[in-house]
């Protein structure tokens, strides 16, 4: 399933995960209460990139992250960071979480309320054992440096609980970064912030990651966050990776019904392939009409398929024009002004199609209209997803 082929080829990946499986027992195992949270996940992350695991709650993304962190022990598979094996069911290796040296930001931040800002950040340096232990002055220097990077420099002696939500978030980040970990794990770090702050932090976090060249793995259920921040997105569903790719790729050419449905809004038309055209294009017949759609996968005449089209890829025009492939006639049934755009719902032969238009276009319900599909942006998907 994992399509790692179109990722840039670097030297050694920072993180390599192979065939990771993790099951949970719920209730009595004998009674079949075994839940497969992660079912054979593989991926690799390049130096300096932001890799996102995106999916609905319960898809296994957090469990995958916790397995990498060492907080959860996988049933089988392989995890290696910079060539060091952390977990391998084959070689019976399992490095404890406190020996992996990774940085992690938790959803709840997990700021220790009984310590002040400095103590929170200094903790990872203070508990370091053996020869890595630093002197007091070294620790202070390092803590102050990392706090100024996350713009908490003036709050060094503040009690951690007195910080605002955004500041606590940055503190958690500073604590994760102070050890200079090879890999940063971010578990829905923005989900506890309010909408406005979340948007701000999104850019700040991305900027920081790029500036410091941090390699990070980011878990979220928020597609906008995923698309805005990542170099690579892996969409997960039911414990498996459905698709891996650049954000634009994922958005524009989803490889399954699930991905197309989960990311953004799409119109779906079930139908059958009636002809194959040059350039990976197929003519599809649906109950509302015919249209062209694209896919790099092979299909032959008669295959049941689904065509996915984003609302913004459907143009709408007043009046009736002769229908043909990709140009259908219908009637506006609903209209909603959304500020940046106007959504029209158009009924064509019993199917409702959502069209997103420039706010200058506004057609009252009941009007006869013609809709035109942007043929390059219609995606052909297998019928069952």
């Amino acid at each position: 399933m994992a399509e790692t082929s179109d990722l840039p080829v670097g030297d050694e990946p920072v993180l390599a995960v192979g065939d990771l499986v993790k099951t949970f027992t719920e209730g009595k195992a004998r009674k079949g209460g075994v839940v497969r949270a992660v079912g054979g996940v593989s991926f690799a992350i390049e130096q300096g990139s932001m890799f996102t695991l995106l999916g609905p709650s319960g898809c296994g993304k957090t469990t995958t992250l916790r397995c990498i962190a060492g907080l959860e022990q996988p049933d089988s598979g392989h995890i290696a960071v910079r060539g060091t094996t952390f977990f391998s069911s084959e070689d019976r290796i399992n490095v404890q979480a406190n020996e992996r040296g990774l940085g992690m930001v938790f959803q709840s931040y997990a700021i220790w309320p009984h310590m002040n800002v400095f103590q929170n950040v200094a903790f990872p340096l203070q508990v370091a054992d053996r020869k890595q232990k630093m002197s007091r002055t070294e620790i202070r220097e390092k803590v102050e440096r990392v706090l100024s990077v996350v713009q908490l420099g003036e709050l060094v002696d503040r009690q951690a609980t007195d910080l605002s939500g955004g500041q606590q978030q940055r503190l958690a980040l500073a604590r994760a970064l102070v050890m200079e970990p090879p890999l940063l794990l971010l578990d829905e770090p923005l989900s506890n912030l309010d909408a406005k702050l979340r948007e701000e932090m999104r850019f700040e976090l991305k900027d920081l990651q790029r500036r410091l060249g941090i390699t990070a793995i980011y878990v979220t259920h928020d597609q906008v966050e995923a698309l805005a921040m990542s170099n690579t997105v892996a969409v997960m569903n039911a414990g498996k990776i459905e698709q891996v790719g650049r954000p634009r790729q994922i958005y524009e050419t989803p490889s399954s019904l699930f991905v197309a449905d989960f990311i953004g809004t799409s119109n779906f038309f079930p139908g059958r392939v009636t002809a194959e055209e040059p350039g990976d294009t197929f003519l599809v017949e649906t109950s509302a009409g015919t249209l062209y759609a694209n896919s790099s996968a092979p299909y032959s005449k008669g295959d049941p398929v689904t065509v996915a089209v984003r609302p913004e890829q459907v143009a709408i025009e007043k009046g009736t024009f002769p229908a043909r492939a990709g140009v259908w006639n219908g009637q506006v049934t609903n209209r909603a002004f959304l500020g940046e755009s106007v959504d029209h719902v158009v009924a064509v032969g019993g199917i409702e199609i959502r069209c997103r238009c420039n706010p200058s276009i506004s057609i009252p319900p009941g009007s006869d209209v013609t809709i035109t599909f942007n043929e390059r942006e219609a995606t052909l998907l297998p019928a069952d997803g």
Binding site: A69, N98, M104, H114, F123, T161, A172, L185
Partner: protein
């Protein structure tokens, strides 16, 4: 609502009819406040008065005689060592058990919760007696079967300060366990996980993250434990007096049981004890208020990820099982065993073949025991019902009305919390031996003692459930035209029922096992179960005592089970 209370506050600015002033609402409120004030304030007031007033003038003579006759220092030192020792045993033990049960992957966690109910159901006197059967130097099973047979191993003497600390500490460990379980449960596990990710080892995490985070609960446990140990009567009386180890409570007891009874002296000891426990309770209240600062952002609905103990798992599991065996199973088993014996002896093939139900027959043929059984349960049910009804109204006043000084009601109702049972007994003796109210010598003085002692607990249960009911439910009933009394009966009470029943069950249980007030206040004919057990102990009727104890525990469990079942039917189901 606001309008109604404004009318109470400024009755003369409006034309308010007499009927309104004497409405059911105001009448009920007045009566409830009067009861609470009378119950809480009078005993303490009389105690102070009687301790400093010798009949003619203010005096310190009772303090002088109290502290000169026995020697102040050894008693105070013993009291403090006893309290500190049992705290030092129970708090670390209870905390460790709570941590293992809540945060790790141990098995048989249910055992611990079962064990935590034991001290609530088994009265302190039975628990202490069981330990004497188990560990007394002459007849104790442990000594006879283990320590005597292993060479060079000294006997374990339960009649010593160490023995007292062991029994009291083990009896109260489950209390600490429950307090700490709540604390560990409310802690966000990612606080520990982030320490793990920082590279810290388990002991470091415990020391620098886990324990500091539960510090408020830990301090509260220490204070509660120390106060409970200072108030404890059964253990110092049964284990301390025979070996001459005196503490405050046993001193109060002996001052009153001597002839003539030294009321002034008892009052002087009681005042000192009251002072110490008041400081403790005050510190505890202040701390729990400050504890709010420690509440932190928690993840939304976190799933607890138990810590993998790894190679520590087997020792920890053994430790848990050993605790259960020593602190719960053995005391219960020995009680059952003794109750089937014609006379007490260390278990052997012969003694087991002699077992019969003769003691149970004796118990059920003994009119005194039967009367005590009836008295105990009548008192328990009666005082629990009265307390819950009164505190339901009181908590309504505190939570719902805007009446000025309503916080005072809460504080006054909580006052008895600082009064140890024995001190309460002394105080009520002061009141009703002198006041012209003819209840001394009747069962009603015990009712008043139980009511007063358990009013604070009733108040906690009632106001906790009152806070959960939205005020608008009541307001909408009033908009519909219901009178105050009707609203209270038809809306508030049914919604309060689950909380009230929980409080009721708790008060029935603690009343039935109550000893330290009853032992001072009972008169022949009005004995309760714990007093009969006490007397049987003094008469050396060990086997009959064990049978009566078993009957008492079984009856209590049955009553609680029935109450829970009924409560579930009457109350409004949640969700």
């Amino acid at each position: 609502m606001a309008q109604a209370s404004a009318q109470v506050a400024v009755p003369f600015l409006r034309r308010v009819s007499l009927r309104r002033i004497f409405s059911g609402r105001n009448l009920t409120i007045t009566v409830v406040i009067a009861i609470i004030t009378y119950m809480a304030v009078i005993p303490v007031g009389y105690l102070v008065w009687g301790t400093f007033w010798n009949g003619q003038s203010l005096t310190l003579e009772f303090f002088r005689s109290a502290y000169s006759t026995v020697g102040l220092t050894p008693m105070v030192v013993n009291s403090l060592i006893f309290a500190a020792g049992s705290t030092a045993l129970a708090v670390p033990l209870g905390t460790l058990l709570a941590y293992l049960v809540v945060r790790t992957d141990l098995r048989f966690k249910g055992l611990m919760f079962a064990a935590s109910l034991v001290p609530l159901i088994i009265p302190g006197i039975l628990h202490t007696v069981s330990w004497i059967f188990l560990a007394s130097p002459n007849i104790g099973i442990y000594n006879r079967l283990i320590f005597d047979r292993v060479p060079f191993l000294p006997k374990f003497d339960i009649f010593s300060l160490q023995g007292m600390i062991l029994v009291e500490g083990l009896h109260l460990t489950p209390l600490i366990f429950l307090l700490m379980v709540a604390a560990f449960r409310s802690m966000d596990p990612s606080l520990e996980e982030s320490a793990l990710m920082s590279g810290a080892k388990l002991p470091t995490i415990m020391r620098r993250v886990t324990l500091p985070l539960v510090r408020p609960a830990l301090y509260a446990s220490i204070l509660i434990m120390a106060i409970r140990a200072l108030e404890a009567f059964e253990v110092p009386a049964l284990l301390g007096i025979p070996s001459g180890i005196w503490v405050f409570t046993s001193r109060i007891w002996s001052a009153l049981k001597g002839f003539p009874a030294e009321y002034g002296q008892a009052g002087a000891y009681a005042m000192s004890l009251l002072l110490i426990t008041s400081v403790g309770v005050y510190l505890h209240t202040r701390m729990s208020r400050r504890g709010k600062r420690f509440q932190t952002v928690t993840g939304k609905g976190f799933r607890p990820h138990p810590i993998q103990l790894g190679r520590w798992k087997v020792p920890a599991q053994l430790f848990l099982m050993a605790y259960f065996l020593i602190a719960v199973t053995m005391p219960v088993l020995v009680l059952l065993y003794v109750s089937t014996q014609p006379f007490y002896s260390v278990p052997s093939l012969e003694s087991i073949s002699n077992s019969s139900l003769e003691n149970y027959r004796y118990t059920f043929d003994n009119p005194q025991a039967l009367r005590a059984l009836r008295n105990s349960f009548a008192l328990g049910i009666g005082s629990a019902t009265a307390v819950m009804l009164v505190t339901a109204v009181a908590s309504w006043i505190v939570v719902r009305t805007k009446a000025r000084g309503r916080w005072l009601v809460d504080n006054v109702a909580t006052v008895p919390l600082v009064i140890p049972g024995l001190v309460m007994g002394v105080a009520l003796l002061f009141v009703y031996l002198r006041a012209p109210v003819p209840i001394f010598g009747t069962i009603w003085i015990l009712f008043i003692a139980y009511f007063t002692r358990y009013m604070p607990y009733g108040m906690r249960y009632s106001s906790a459930s009152m806070y959960q009911i939205g005020g608008e439910l009541e307001e909408s009933a009033q908009i519909c035209g219901a009178s105050w009394w009707k609203t209270f009966r038809k809306v508030n009470l049914p919604l309060l029922v689950p909380g009230l029943i929980a409080g009721w069950i708790y008060i029935v249980m603690v009343s039935v096992r109550e000893l330290s007030s009853s032992i001072l206040l009972y008169t022949p004919g009005n004995e309760v179960l714990s007093v009969i057990i006490w007397e049987q102990w003094e008469n050396g009727q060990f086997t009959e005592l064990a049978a009566l104890g078993v009957v008492m525990v079984v009856a209590l469990v049955a009553l609680v089970a029935v109450a829970k079942k009924l409560g579930a039917r009457v109350g409004v189901k949640e969700g």
